[in-house]
Symmetry: C2
Subunit: 209 residues, 2 copies
């Protein structure tokens, strides 16, 4: 143990236990979601399966939605690492227009694959929570628009609109019923591919000088 | 009274009273929002000022958020009438690309002007409610994309993405804090103009063949 990091008393063990419990709970929640679906993961079920007290689960996550929010945060971090330091075209190094296209495809696939977790992460009570995703997407898209130098007058505002174009459709499917006609087609077709292809066509048209 | 519309007994008077109470409450709510701001409109205050029982207000609107939802619905109807049968370029008759630009500008101004009402219309309890706006914007944008014949491969999916690009930014400002950097600029500048100009540049670039 590095004494410079652990100056006094017993807290390191407590902290290490807390971190371990958190990891056990997240891993157990992932396994339960895969087996049972997000709808059937409860605080009681999670505590029992993880072999931990219900009080520990409440202290870690506060509410049932808190479990799913912690899972989403962990996945979001992994996604952001791929964008910030993974291989091109998603990671750094390629042409900015190709990178913008790759980002839209990857982000759409990411959001749709975590659809049930994101839905379960909504707190049903308390104030409406802003989604965390746009806080990463908007500056990233803004940076790529700047590098691509598309000659459009206001890349700041355009980045906000393109972020909504990207993050919005998966969110629309999150709340309530999906819109009637194209959604049926989308669900019966392959939604990530349809949205990814359409994003690519949009970006290519924007990039045409 | 037209007897063909009112075939039996006394319900017309009851219905007329209910409709009148509803109008009185909506008008009173509008006046109170203008004077006090949406945050300070309460069920009790509304009942007192309208000279109606609190029970009547509850029966009409259910919750405080219900008042604001009813107001939004009424305004939304008026907006949709302008789009469906008002003068061009927003209403029918003009070039579809011009109409798409006019729609984006009008919709953005509409959403931002009703920002405080929309915020207050969120139910803090109960299931997350899908926004009603996209159900009108998406088919309208889809129709105009079809008329404009832009040569893009999948106008159904593009309409969904453009609807999000349009409805999303005002929604982002609805929930929690606005994003830090360009938002400050947006708030200090003229947000409807910035979003409207950027929408126009986006549509013009899409329409360039």
């Amino acid at each position: 143990m590095d004494s410079s990091l652990v100056p006094f008393g017993n807290p390191p063990t407590e902290r290490a236990d807390a971190a371990r419990n958190r990891e056990v709970l997240l891993c157990t929640a992932r396994a339960m979601i895969a087996e049972l679906g997000a709808d059937r993961v409860t605080m009681d079920g999670l505590a029992e399966r993880a072999g931990l007290g219900k009080g520990t689960v409440f202290r870690r996550f506060g509410t049932r939605a808190g479990i799913f929010r912690a899972l989403l945060d962990a996945e979001e971090q992994r996604f952001q690492c791929q964008v910030l330091s993974g291989p091109p075209p998603l990671g750094p190094g390629g042409n900015p227009v190709d990178r913008l296209i790759a980002y839209g495809r990857a982000r759409t696939a990411f959001l749709l694959a975590r659809h049930d977790i994101a839905r379960a992460a909504f707190e049903r009570k308390g104030p409406v929570q802003p989604a965390a995703g746009p806080d990463f997407s908007r500056p990233h898209i803004r940076m790529l628009l700047g590098q691509a130098a598309l000659g459009l007058p206001d890349p700041d505002t355009l980045a906000l609109q393109l972020t909504s174009a990207l993050e919005g459709p998966p969110l629309l499917f999150l709340t309530g019923e999906p819109p009637a006609d194209p959604a049926e087609r989308c669900y019966s077709g392959d939604l990530p591919t349809l949205l990814g292809d359409s994003w690519q066509a949009l970006v290519e048209r924007l990039a045409r000088r």
